[in-house]
Symmetry: C2
Subunit: 157 residues, 2 copies
DNA sequence: TGTGAACGTTCCCATCATGGCAAGGTCAAC
DNA sequence: GTTGACCTTGCCATGATGGGAACGTTCACA
């Protein structure tokens, strides 16, 4: 089985299969006389395993460990679970950070009329680092202006 | 003001300040006779703007646009809002994906006893690509074994 | 038997934002 | 004058993936 067929069958691109081989995530594929890599069912299984782990966001480094546990008949599911939970905590932490950003940005965007005037709480917040105003406490809090150009030499930029 | 002081004052590392200069996100800093970069209040403002935008997860590319709008007295807050909302949608999408992964991984981890035996629904799911079993439908669905080693030529690896 | 398309190979480069390191120049305090 | 903290430029690395060049192989079809 060519690398292209293996790619289609496993859902891992040929490019990535070669990469995984180069970093030792999959063993070096057998070669035909032509130099073409040759894949069998066992290879497809391994590639499928990797793809499913990638779908769950596991890093290649952790997948390497999971593959080691997979092929270890004496593995402990506690080891597997520990890796999964470590990854889960990282996923949750990253999601938390994204949600924090999204929440902050959402209130800024909500506070912006988007009516075509220059006044903009989003810009204002980026300038001052402050959060979005509660609602519209003051009617027209002029958007802070950019700092004056350097010295007198405007053309210097 | 040295780059180090500017870094401390703005919360942007010296390394990044140089980088931002190299990609045109900040104008080339003034230089002293020694060749040292020299920063003033306007530069700190700009760096602070960038840092706050980075804190909200904006890409440097988008920050470049936001900076352009900031310094444009004729800007429309609709333009700013459009960029913010585009970014917001991306944040939400990324968070959604992470949560999807986390949910899937959580049910797998919950389904794993972690009692030290080799049986492991996490490994099983990575092998088959199937979701976590509903709860524990069958008492001991033996974890799928790794594929047999390649043919008879184990040394071929 | 030739030929062309589709595939394979290796190697290098790019992404994105950031950090690290090395070799060398500058500054300020003692 | 020495020392330590700082600055300069330049290159390399990250992690996972894609793109492309230059060149070899396979296979079907005329």
């Amino acid at each position: 089985m060519n690398i292209g067929e293996a790619a289609r069958a496993s859902g891992v691109s040929a490019k990535m299969i070669r990469h995984y081989e180069s970093i030792g995530l999959v063993p070096p594929a057998g070669r035909r006389d032509s130099g073409y890599r040759d894949y069998g069912a066992a290879d497809l299984h391994r590639l499928g395993f990797i793809r499913h782990a990638r779908d769950l966001g596991f890093s290649l480094e952790r997948i390497k460990v999971l593959l080691g546990l997979w092929v270890d008949p004496g593995r402990s599911n506690a080891d597997v679970k520990a890796i999964a939970e470590a990854h889960l905590r990282e996923l949750e932490e990253r999601a938390r950070q994204l949600n924090e950003m999204a929440d902050a940005l959402r209130s800024l965007a909500d506070a912006c009329d988007g009516d075509g005037r220059p006044d903009c709480p989003i810009i204002a917040s980026l300038v001052t680092g402050a959060d979005a105003p509660a609602c519209h406490p003051n009617p027209a809090p002029a958007t802070p202006e950019p700092p004056a150009p350097r010295g007198k030499a405007r053309t210097k930029r």
